[in-house]
C-alpha cells in the first residue's frame, strides 16, 4: 500500500501543473477516494464533542486517508486538538468530555460498546505538544511501550529499530542509559516519536509537535514525518501554516463559530481539501482569509 500511495501522490502533483483542471468542483470526499482508492483510516460522521454543557466541536464529517499526512489547522479554540484527541479516545481521560456521532476507524465505530480505549491507544499513538519523555533512560523510554504490551521479540532490537526509524540512533547510540531529560528539546520530541513507533501503531496523532521547538529541530521532525508516512497514517494539528503546507497532503481548516443560543464558542470544520488547494485555491472565503493572514 505505501507504494501505491506514493505513486498516487505523484500523479496528484502532476495535476497541480494545470490548476484549472483541478477546479474546486465535486464533492470533497470523492476527491479523497480518488487519491487513495477505498482506503480511509478514519471516517468521521457528524462528530460532536461536548465538555460538560459546552459544545466544543460541532458536526464534523471528514475522512482521513491511509498513509498520508492530514493537517488540522485553524485559530486557537477551534477544537482541532479536541477532535484529534477524540481519534484515540484520549478525551476519555477528561471526565466531562463526551463524543457523539460516528468515529469510524477502518469501518469500526471507535466509541462502540465493545471497544476498549486502552486497546485503541495501542494502535493509534500520539505525540504531544511539549516533548514529554519519561524521567528515565533513553532506552527505558522506548522500551516502556513494548514492555507493558508484552510484545515479543528482542527488546534491544526494538529499541534500536525504533530509534533508527526516528533518525535518532546515531545521535544517542552511545548514551542509551543516560536520562532522556539530558537531550535537547528536538531530540526529546523525536524520542517521543520513536517511543510511539516502538509499539508498532497504525496511526500517529501529533498535537502541535513542533510548537516548542526551534526551526532546525522543526525541520528534522518534519523530515521525519515525511519519511514515516510510508508506513503510518499521520494526523497533525498545527498552528504553523507553513508547516501544514510543507508536510501535509490534506488540510482541514477549522474555525470558531459563536452558536446562536449560547455564548459558548464552538469549533466547526470549514473545509477539507488537498493541501495545495487549501493554500492556493480555497473554496471558502474564511479559509482564504486565514491562510493569507487576514484573520486568525
Amino acid at each position: 500500500m505505501p507504494k501505491a500511495t506514493t505513486g498516487d501522490t505523484v500523479t496528484a502533483d502532476e495535476d497541480a501543473i494545470s490548476p484549472p483542471a483541478m477546479a474546486v468542483t465535486g464533492a470533497l470526499l470523492e476527491d479523497h477516494v480518488r487519491r487513495v482508492p477505498g482506503v480511509n483510516t478514519f471516517e468521521l460522521k457528524k462528530v460532536n464533542v461536548h465538555y460538560g454543557d459546552m459544545l466544543a466541536v460541532k458536526d464534523v464529517s471528514l475522512d482521513i486517508p491511509h498513509n498520508e499526512i492530514t493537517a488540522f489547522i485553524g485559530p486557537s479554540g477551534c477544537g482541532k486538538s479536541t477532535l484529534l484527541r477524540s481519534l484515540n479516545r484520549m478525551n476519555d481521560l477528561i471526565p466531562a468530555a463526551k463524543v457523539s456521532g460516528e468515529v469510524l476507524y477502518h469501518g469500526v465505530d471507535m466509541y462502540g460498546p465493545k471497544i476498549d480505549p486502552v486497546q485503541v491507544r495501542t494502535v493509534i499513538g500520539m505525540v504531544f505538544q511539549k516533548p514529554n519523555p519519561f524521567p528515565k533512560s533513553i532506552y527505558d523510554n522506548i522500551a516502556f511501550g513494548p514492555r507493558i504490551l508484552g510484545m515479543k521479540g528482542n527488546l534491544d532490537e526494538i529499541v534500536e529499530s525504533s530509534l533508527r526509524r526516528a533518525a535518532l540512533w546515531d545521535e544517542v547510540k552511545d548514551r542509551l542509559k543516560d536520562n532522556a531529560f539530558g537531550m535537547s528539546g528536538g531530540q526529546q520530541q523525536r524520542l517521543c516519536i520513536a517511543r510511539a513507533i516502538a509499539v508498532q501503531p497504525d496511526v500517529i496523532l501529533m498535537d502541535e509537535p513542533c510548537s516548542a521547538l526551534d526551526p532546525v529541530s522543526t525541520g528534522k521532525v518534519e523530515d521525519l514525518m515525511l519519511e514515516l508516512k510510508e508506513d503510518y497514517t499521520i494526523v497533525i494539528v498545527t498552528h504553523n501554516m507553513q508547516q501544514a503546507a510543507r508536510v501535509s497532503d490534506l488540510t482541514a481548516f477549522f474555525t470558531v463559530a459563536a452558536m446562536d443560543d449560547t455564548s459558548n464558542r464552538t469549533g466547526v470544520l470549514v473545509e477539507m481539501d488537498e493541501t495545495r488547494n487549501i493554500f492556493s485555491n480555497p473554496k471558502d472565503e474564511r479559509t482564504a482569509n486565514y491562510v493569507t493572514g487576514k484573520f486568525g
Binding site: N88, M90, L93, P95, V118, Q119, R121, T122, V123, G125, M126, F128, K130, N132, P133, F134, P135, K136, F144, G145, I148, L149, C192, R195, A196, V199
Partner: protein, 318 residues
C-alpha cells in the same frame, strides 16, 4: 550645573541646553532618592521585629541543646545504650529496653503507613473523582485529622486498640497502630503532594502508548513521585519517634527491665522512658533523662537530614 566640565567642554552645548540638561538631571535624582524618612524608619522597625522573632527561636533551641548536653554530659557513654533501666543502680542504668521498644513500635508504624498512606494517596489522586461529594468529604477529613491533637489518638488507641474491638492489650503492637493512625494523614497528604507534582504529560504519554491507568501510575507516576513520598514517610516517622503523649495511654509507661516483644508484655519507648526518668527524684535519673534527650535530638536531626538530603538529591524541575 555650571561647571559641566568634561562633557560640555568637548561638545560645546549652548547655555540654554546646558541648563535644561542639568535641571532634568536634578529631577531624575530627586525621583530616585528615597525621600520619605518615616517610610525608611518603618522599614527598619519591621526588619527588627522579624530578626527578634528569629533570634528568640534560635536562642531557645540553642539553650535547650546546651542544657541537654551539659546536664546529660556525664552519662553520655555506651552504658546509656546497652544497660537496662533501673532505679536501684541509677548511675549505670540505660535505655536499652526503650531503644528496642522504639525500634519495634516504629518498625510497625513504617509497615502500616507505607502501604496504607501511599495507597490512599494514589486512590485519591488518580482514581477518585474529585467532584464526588463523598471523596470531597474524605479529602476534607484527612486534612482535619492531620491537625487533631495526638492525645486524642491516644484515647482512640486505648478504647479501640488496647481494649474494645481489637483488645491487643498494652503491647508494642498497640503503640504501633496508634502512632500509625496519628501520622497516617501526614503521609497521605505528603504522598498526594508528590503524586500531584508529577506532570500529567507523563500520565498522558504512558496512556497514549496503550498503558492502563494502573500501569501508568505504577510504572511512571509512582517512581517519579518516589522521592517526595519517601520524604513524607521519613518526616512522619520522625514525628512518630518523638511522640510520647498518645503512647502514655496505650501502655508505653511500663518500667521495663527486660527486652520487650511486639505482641506481648509491656514496652516503653525513648520519649516515654525519658518521661519515666525525669519524674523521679534521684539526681542520677535526672542526668539520665537529659542524656536521653541528647540521644533523641541526635536521632531526629539525623532522620531529618536524610529527608532533606533525599529531597534535594531527587528534586526535579519538569
Amino acid at each position: 550645573m555650571a561647571d559641566d566640565s568634561g562633557y560640555s567642554s568637548r561638545v560645546a552645548m549652548p547655555a540654554r541646553t546646558r541648563t535644561a540638561v542639568g535641571g532634568a538631571r536634578e529631577v531624575t535624582e530627586a525621583m530616585l532618592a528615597s525621600g520619605d524618612r518615616r517610610k525608611r524608619i518603618r522599614g527598619v522597625i519591621f526588619v527588627s521585629i522579624l530578626l527578634l522573632g528569629l533570634t528568640t527561636a534560635l536562642l531557645s533551641i540553642a539553650a535547650m541543646i546546651t542544657w541537654a548536653f551539659v546536664a546529660g554530659g556525664p552519662r553520655l557513654n555506651l552504658d546509656l545504650f546497652t544497660n537496662v533501666p533501673s532505679v536501684v543502680s541509677p548511675e549505670t542504668a540505660g535505655y536499652r529496653t526503650a531503644i528496642f521498644g522504639t525500634l519495634y513500635v516504629i518498625g510497625g508504624v513504617i509497615l502500616l503507613i507505607v502501604p496504607l498512606g501511599v495507597g490512599a494517596a494514589i486512590y485519591l489522586e488518580e482514581f477518585a473523582n474529585p467532584k464526588n461529594p463523598f471523596n470531597r468529604f474524605v479529602d476534607l477529613n484527612i486534612q482535619n485529622l492531620a491537625g487533631v491533637p495526638s492525645i486524642v489518638f491516644g484515647i482512640l488507641g486505648l478504647a479501640f486498640i488496647v481494649r474494645g474491638p481489637l483488645s491487643l492489650g498494652f503491647v508494642a503492637a498497640a503503640g504501633s497502630l496508634t502512632l500509625a493512625l496519628l501520622v497516617l494523614p501526614t503521609v497521605i497528604l505528603a504522598s498526594r503532594e508528590a503524586i500531584r507534582a508529577v506532570p500529567s504529560s507523563i500520565r498522558d504519554g504512558s496512556l497514549a502508548l496503550g498503558a492502563t491507568v494502573w500501569q501508568a501510575v505504577s510504572r511512571q507516576v509512582l517512581p517519579a513521585a518516589f522521592p517526595g513520598v519517601l520524604t513524607g514517610v521519613i518526616l512522619a516517622v520522625a514525628r512518630a519517634i518523638g511522640e510520647a503523649a498518645p503512647l502514655l495511654l496505650v501502655g508505653a509507661v511500663t518500667f521495663v527491665t527486660f527486652d520487650p516483644s511486639f505482641f506481648e508484655g509491656g514496652y516503653s519507648t525513648l520519649p516515654t522512658m525519658i518521661y519515666s526518668y525525669a519524674k523521679r527524684p534521684q539526681e542520677e535519673l535526672q542526668i539520665l533523662a537529659a542524656a536521653g534527650v541528647v540521644v533523641m535530638l541526635v536521632l531526629l536531626i539525623l532522620i531529618n537530614s536524610v529527608a532533606i538530603y533525599l529531597r534535594n538529591r531527587f528534586e526535579r524541575t519538569w
